[in-house]
Structures are given as C-alpha cells and as structure tokens.
C-alpha cells in the first residue's frame, strides 16, 4: 500500500529517460503503470468521475510537458504531486460548495456521551464492502475542506507517510499532522452524525 518503496526500477528509469527526450509512447507507458492509483486519488479528492477524469487528463499533459523538471526520486510521488495540483486548480475553478455551511455541521466532540457509541466488533473491513458505508465515507471525505481532504486521501487511502505527503504538497510536517488529525476527526463525526444511513449491523443500537 505504501509508496515509499520507490526501488530504482531500471525499466522505469529507462522509460523516464526516453520520455524526457519527448517520446510520448514512453511517457504513456509510465502513465499506464500508475493511472489506477492516480485516478483513485483524483476521484477521492474531486468526488465524481467526470471531474476526476478532467483532473487526470490535465495532470498528465502537465506532467509530460514538465518531465524535464523531474529530478529523480519517486516518479509516482512526482506524478501524485502534479495530480493533486491539478485537483487543486480544478476545485478552485469550480468553487461551487460553500464550505461554511458544512463546517457548521461538525462541532467536534462536545456532544453527549451517548452519541459516541461503538460499532460492533467485526471491524470495518468486513462492512466496508457494503455500498452504504463506502458511499457514506466518500461523502464524508467530500465534506472536508480541500487542504484536509487531500492530506487524508494521501495518508489513509493511498498510504503515503507523513514525510512523503509533506514532500508532495510542499508543506511542513507539522501542517500534515494537524490537517490529518482534523480531517480524521471530521470524518468520524460525519459518520456518527449519519449513522442512521449505515447498514443495520453496524448501526449503533
């Protein structure tokens, strides 16, 4: 799951070299290797398939044009950075969601104790296959402010380490930690606030 394992892959290094000289086929071969992972990031950040595809397309074009700027290290992390930048741009272009109304929904943690009920012991992996929980999680992610959403997606969905995220987003480590902490709390509160939408088995009694 984690991506830090950027073992120097000789074939990848060769493809990057060829792509740097402007070879589109070599670049497409690289893109093919990672397009599922990159698309998943874009989808979780953008929230829908159309926007995710737009962001992907723009990101790959930017990556091909800017491949001379790749200075070694993990090529996937470099692509991820370009995809998240494209998502930022796309979100900024839309700006359709007034964030304040959503913020008001989630007052952290001060509710009555009865609201902090535990799900059953089977654990979420068992239930996450169910559409309801997956959909609810997706909505919870979409409800986050952009900065927090991107960190949460990179960490908890893509499995990047704090240090890698700091490098991808070019922000300090402390910023990654605090954004992730707030994002997780908000997603948790979203689930608790909408637990009536969860399947019966994991709905708290």
């Amino acid at each position: 799951m984690a991506s830090s394992a950027s073992f120097p892959d000789p074939e990848e290094a060769r493809l990057i070299e060829v792509a740097r000289s402007g070879d589109l086929e070599a670049f497409n071969e690289l893109a093919r290797r990672y397009q599922d992972r990159l698309y998943h990031i874009a989808y979780r950040i953008m929230g829908d398939h159309d926007s995710a595809a737009d962001a992907m397309q723009e990101a790959l074009i930017a990556a091909f044009r800017g491949i001379r700027g790749f200075r070694g290290g993990s090529f996937l992390a470099w692509l991820t950075r370009i995809v998240t930048n494209a998502c930022y741009d796309e979100l900024r272009r839309r700006r359709r969601r007034p964030q304040a109304s959503l913020d008001a929904l989630f007052v952290v943690d001060q509710g009555p104790e009865a609201e902090m009920t535990l799900p059953p012991v089977e654990g979420p992996e068992f239930y996450v296959e169910r559409r309801e929980l997956a959909d609810l999680l997706h909505r919870a992610i979409q409800s986050l402010p952009e900065d927090q959403r991107i960190v949460l997606v990179l960490s908890d969905i893509e499995g990047y380490s704090y240090e890698e995220i700091a490098g991808i987003l070019q922000v300090p480590l402390g910023t990654v930690k605090s954004r992730l902490s707030r994002a997780r709390m908000r997603v948790r509160d979203f689930l608790l606030a909408h637990r009536e939408l969860l399947p019966g088995t994991i709905r708290p009694s």
Binding site: Q35, N85, P124, E125, R184, M185
Partner: protein
C-alpha cells in the same frame, strides 16, 4: 481552587484529543504515548473518541480501490505545443519597463534643465522637488560645515533639485550671491521621488519577469 482544577482537566482532554491521530500512527514519543494511554484508561469519553476514530481510519483504509474507467494515454495532438499567450505577469513587467524608460527620460531632461538653470525652469521643476526631512537635516549639517555661517540657515540654499524651490517672485530678492551657491554636483545621487520611482519600477519589472519565468517552469 476547583475552577482551576476543572480547567486543567479540560485541557488534558483537549491535549489528548489533539494527539489521538498521531497516537494511531505511532508518531508520539514514549512520554506522550504514556500520558495518552493513562488518560484513555481513566476517561471514558476520550476512550470512546479514540475507539471511534480508530474505527473510522480502519474503514477509510479498507475502502475498495477505484480503477481508472478508461485509458488516460495521451494523444500527440493533446501535447502539441501551442504558442503560449503572453501572460499578464510578463505584460505588466514590460509595461513597467516602458514606464521606467519614460521616467528615466524625464529625469534626464530635468537634469539637463538643472545644469543650465534659467528662471523659466524654476516653476516647472518645483513640484518634483520636496526633499525628505532627513535629507534636509543632513544637508543643513553639511552646509554648516561648509560655510560655518548662521546656526539657522534660511531654507533657500539647497542643492540640485531643491534649488528652484524659491518662487520666481522671491528669487529676485533672496537670490544668494554667487559665492554662496553650492556646486550643483555636491551629492551625486539625491534620493528624489523620481529616483525612488525609477528604483521601484526597475525592481518591479525584474521581479515580475522572474516570477513569470518561475511559473512557466513549474510543472503546474
């Protein structure tokens, strides 16, 4: 002091809540970890918060992957270089450079007028010449050294840009004698508003061009 103790207790909840995410990832140092664990043993509310947070992150990590619905391989026409339109940054930079040339020209014209001073030039130059207070003080000091005259020199004897401050009507009466006129080249670069403007324009144009270059090289 029950109020104080209560406050402390609340702060401890918050301290622990702020670290649950790091605790989950094993990113606390041993001392902090022990403090969090001790609190979670004692505080049912924070313990529930911890359990639900852990559950949430496990659920996020178990989200099924979403595959790309199609190939995103690029076609040659998608990456064909189109001539890039000149961005607003560069346009502004060039406008600043043009303004700089104009101001330099104006400055040059004014300095020509200064070398060959005539009564007609005086009113035209006067508005551009309010010398800053500090400079006035420095000049005053210099003048006192040079001439060692009265302790309170009249405002008239100034140099360069400031000379024409005397209006044409008063100039005839107060015109100092030839021996009192300071040499026009006394301080080489007086900090006039024109000079400041030139400096800012130059700095702005260079800065914007550099920013434009940086933006065009960034991979988005």
């Amino acid at each position: 002091m029950p109020l104080f103790r209560r406050r402390l207790k609340t702060d401890e909840h918050q301290w622990v809540q702020d670290r649950l995410s790091l605790y989950l990832d094993g990113r606390l140092d041993p001392g902090e970890r022990a403090r969090v664990e001790a609190h979670l043993r004692d505080c049912a509310t924070c313990a529930r918060s911890w359990e639900t947070l852990r559950w949430t992150v496990q659920a996020l990590r178990a989200l099924p992957p979403v595959r790309a619905p199609r190939s995103f391989a690029l076609r040659p026409e998608q990456v064909a270089r189109v001539p890039q339109p000149v961005g607003w940054l560069r346009r502004t930079a060039w406008a600043m450079a043009a303004a700089l040339i104009l101001v330099l020209g104006l400055d040059f014209a004014l300095s020509l007028g200064r070398i060959a001073p005539g009564p007609a030039m005086a009113p035209a130059v006067a508005p551009a010449a309010p010398a800053p207070q500090a400079e006035r003080e420095a000049l005053r000091a210099m003048e006192m050294e040079d001439h060692t005259r009265s302790p309170e020199p009249s405002p008239a004897p100034m140099f360069g840009l400031a000379v024409p401050q005397a209006t044409p009507t008063t100039a005839a009466e107060q015109l100092p004698g030839p021996e009192e006129i300071p040499p026009p080249s006394a301080p080489a670069f007086p900090l006039s508003p024109l000079r400041i403007l030139e400096f800012l324009l130059l700095l702005g144009a260079i800065g914007l061009l550099a920013l434009d270059r940086w933006r065009s090289q960034r991979p988005r």
